[in-house]
């Protein structure tokens, strides 16, 4: 459905912003595919009457929490999840900037086609994604990108034989607030 014109502010109380990572390297079998939730983020969505509008999102790089891990050697307990979050904080994101600002927003079947610039840790690259709106006001969108395109070296362990895959997926799944 088309998103009703208006201004919307979204955050963790309205939905989830999730990062999904895979694994790579000779010892990939030992690692886990991770589902990581960004627990502090804010998005502003403006939808114009004749289509168009803007999308902006900022996320706190120190607010990532590991929700689940699959496919690895052994299951991830709370201690391991906390340890991964600490590694993300200390070795990967280091509290840097995570911000998206649209440059063009166009009406698309079922929602919006959004193009813009994603700033990750001070490097800015263009990205594009669809925001799909459901009849119940549910808004979903997903992008995949390579960390290395933003100059981020994927986390590695076990003497470089176990790595987080370069490509990560970020999903937003939120419900438009009702006035």
């Amino acid at each position: 459905m088309a998103i009703p014109p208006g201004s919307y502010t979204l955050g963790p109380t309205d939905g989830t912003l999730t990062v999904r990572t895979g694994k790579a390297g000779a010892a990939a079998k030992a690692g886990h595919n991770l589902v990581i939730e960004v627990t502090r983020w804010e998005a502003a969505l403006e939808v114009g009457k004749g289509g168009g509008g803007s999308v902006a999102l900022t996320a706190d790089a120190r607010s990532l929490a590991v929700r689940s891990g699959s496919g690895g050697m052994g299951s991830l307990g709370d201690e391991e999840k906390a340890s991964i979050a600490q590694s993300i904080d200390d070795d990967v994101l280091k509290g840097g900037t995570i911000a998206f600002r649209s440059s063009a927003v166009d009406a698309a079947p079922g929602g919006l086609r959004v193009q813009g610039d994603l700033d990750l840790l001070g490097a800015t690259r263009p990205v594009a994604f669809d925001l799909d709106a459901g009849d119940d006001g549910r808004l979903t969108g997903s992008i995949r990108f390579k960390q290395s395109d933003w100059g981020i070296k994927p986390f590695s362990a076990l003497f470089g034989t176990l790595k987080v895959a370069d490509e990560v997926e970020v999903d937003v799944d939120a419900k438009l607030p009702v006035d």
Binding site: K29, A30, H32, M73, G74, E80, K81, I84, A157, F159
Partner: protein, 142 residues
């Protein structure tokens, strides 16, 4: 059985390197995650190594012993016997170190069983190779 060969250089005299590799208190911490638990004799120690795999880790505990020592040829054979803490696996190895001017070579014959081995020989070789390369770099700094 996995066999690997590595060479290393320290830029230091052979006599210095010889003393260093025979000093288990200095040698064992050169293995990432390795530590001496207790010296049991001038040529042997109880030791453990914690191998970090991201958030998960495996700890092996056992003994390291210099079983052959040729002072004239600067050649030593170390025997590592260890068992996975809290698991069924073993990690045993014969490590032959042969010093030459300013460095040396290491021949490792390792036998890994249990959870670590279940990842496949290719993985075990890659990880051991990484571990020994890291070890040789640290060896150059002692």
């Amino acid at each position: 059985m996995v066999e690997l060969d590595h060479s290393f250089s320290t830029g230091k005299p052979t006599d210095y390197n010889w003393d260093a590799i025979l000093d288990l208190d200095r040698l064992i911490p050169c293995v990432q995650g390795g530590r001496v638990v207790e010296r049991t004799s001038p040529t042997a120690a109880k030791a453990e190594i914690k191998v970090k795999m991201g958030a998960m880790s495996m700890t092996f505990a056992g003994t390291v012993e210099v079983v052959e020592q040729d002072d004239a040829a600067h050649r030593a054979l170390l025997k590592v016997k260890s068992r996975e803490v809290g698991g069924q696996g073993h990690a045993n190895a014969d490590v032959a170190i042969d010093l030459n001017d300013g460095g040396g070579t290491i021949h490792t014959a390792a036998q890994i069983t249990g959870k670590a081995a279940s990842m496949g020989e290719g993985v075990v070789v890659s990880v051991l190779d990484g571990l020994i390369k890291d070890f040789t770099q640290r060896l150059g700094q002692i």
